[in-house]
Amino acid sequence: MNFLDLAPLAVVLPIFGAGAAFLVRRRIKLQRLITIGILCVTLLLEAGMLAAVWGGESYAVHIGGWQSPWGISLMVDGFSAFMLLISTLVSLAVLFYATSQGLADGDEPGPVSVFHPAYLILLAGVSNAFLAADLFNLYVGFEILLTASYVLLTLGATAERIRAGTTYVVVSVVSSVIFLMGIAMTYAATGTVNMADLAVKLPQLDQGPQLILHVLLLIAFGIKAAVFPLSLWLPDSYPTAPAPVTAVFAGLLTKVGVYAIVRTETLLFPGGAVNAGLLVVAALTMVIGILGAIAQTDFKRMLSFTLTSHIGYLIFGVAVGGELAIAATIYYVGHHIIVQTSLFMVAGLIERRAGSANVTRLGSLAKLSPALSLLFFIPAINLGGIPPFSGFLGKFGLLHAAAQDADALTWVVIAAGLLTSLLTLLAIIRVWARMFWRRAADAEIPNPDLVDEAAKVADQTAAGGAQAPHLGLKLARELESEALPWGMRYATGSLVVAGIALTVFAGPIFEFCQRVAAQLIAHEPYINAILSY
């Protein structure tokens, strides 16, 4: 009995937790306790799993003891364990955030009590997709997380959420149909859906059928990962959801698509037959996404556009291929999950503090909300790729890997990557200057409450004079803690700290990513772990 045989619990625990949480839906405190408890246990389990495969091991769990390739297998290797741990860590932080928000608002047992069960099911789906070692199980994982996300996106069923939800559901269903078509055709061509078995059998097919299967799967995953031109649904649907829901979606859902693309490109179709196409798509995703971000006035919409834009970097890394590029991609996925989620959490805090996340209505926040400014500033410049943060390290790794014997097209994409980084900084600084730096009275549509509070704080500072210059700051802190429950601030803060930790421990983490990349490119560890059973 190996410790890693417990891997299915990463899926099973949240599913059972969801059932239990739904049963006690009238007792909101118990429900919260169950959800947080289950996530903590899952997190510990996954930390153990990552520790067990940290050195580069691959371990396959065969459900029900069926012989490979007929049974359902789950794969625990560095890549899946890393993704599992980060996704659970982020979901736990967001859950604290949501719980604290609910406590502050005094939530009643009502339709909203489906939040906790749906949240756990979402996490079970994400974990299942990461662990799946056959295409159909991957599809089931996608469906579990999508169905839960439909519920979470339309919580409360307001007109705006229903409108956004409809687009989201239809696009997701179409992508699932395309994925299923890919699975059906793969099965027709090879007679298997087991990924290790496919890795052996797919290269024996003719070029034509291989290319069709390859492109079908990439389109299906591309919609989920929000790769241009399949990304336009995302900025339309994400911003309308409640803040914690948007935060967890932004962190996890697109990355499951990216994870599937990395697996497809490294394991199933390692020849790099469509790499030139992927390079073009990556450049377009980056540039068009960030141009969209600059045009927005709503902070949440702007973040959604930067989200799709930075997926381009990940696709770029996959298209370049090679050990260094894949390692940088994995590192960048971790960075992007944490930073993007913390920024969406900050957006929720801003909305709560100032009544809106639209930059045309805001100002004076640096003076009024010092802690919030710090929570915004660190992940924001991290996203913009300012050294020494993880955003810089990830981008540097990607571009460095790409620049090694690059052809003309790759140089163009490198230029696009640099341009995108610069434009991200521009978008971030514009938001910073308007929401935090300018006076609230100078906003296009000034918010009277903010103007009032800013005047009070200024008065206090003036009254304190040279003897007590901190009086204004003290008042600002009081106003801030009144508006923002401590749980929400600390949950956001913990993710910001996690983002910094990714920078501080970049050495060992990047070495780990390189081991994982070598393992992904080598294939044999994956194939042997599954087919030897």
């Binding site: 956004a164 559901v169 239809v170 099965y187 709503d298 919409r301």
Partner: protein
């Protein structure tokens, strides 16, 4: 592997009609499209299973190659359940949308329209500013420019 051409043609028709309907703006048509897509793809999986054969229940005297392939049937069963759940959810959403807007079409995104109608001119960044050409001020704080006084 021999393939049942009738199945393939039906699959093609179902998928083509389904994709066409999904592109409509009327929500009930989109729903019908999704149902057709689901059935079309299920038929495709069935076709992928290869030739027909005996039901995949073990009979001692039947050689292995006489059975039909059970795996696609298991996959279809899962896919049917998922399509069923999603269809039910969509139906509820369409009903809710109809209750809210009393229309069966997808509404526009208002924020999107606002962004698309906004001009490139930005009042805060692009408005002409009175340029200070001097850093020196007189006693009342008015700038002292060259050639004045």
């Amino acid at each position: 592997m021999s393939v049942n051409i009738t199945f393939l043609v039906i699959t093609g028709v179902l998928l083509a009609t389904g994709f066409y309907l999904v592109l409509e703006r009327t929500l009930t048509r989109v729903l019908l499209g999704i149902m057709l897509l689901g059935n079309g793809v299920n038929l495709l999986i069935l076709t992928a299973g290869g030739r027909k054969g005996a039901a995949p229940l073990f009979k001692p005297d039947l050689p292995a190659d006489q059975y039909s392939d059970p795996l696609p049937q298991a996959l279809i069963l899962t896919a049917i359940v998922i399509t069923f759940a999603v269809t039910a959810f969509l139906l509820a959403m369409i009903y809710r949308s109809w209750t809210l807007t009393s229309a069966d079409v997808l509404a526009d995104d208002t924020e999107d329209i606002k962004v698309s109608q906004s001009t490139a001119y930005d009042e805060e960044e692009d408005s002409p500013v009175a340029e200070d050409t001097t850093e020196f001020v007189d006693e009342e704080g008015r700038p002292i420019r060259e050639g004045e006084e």
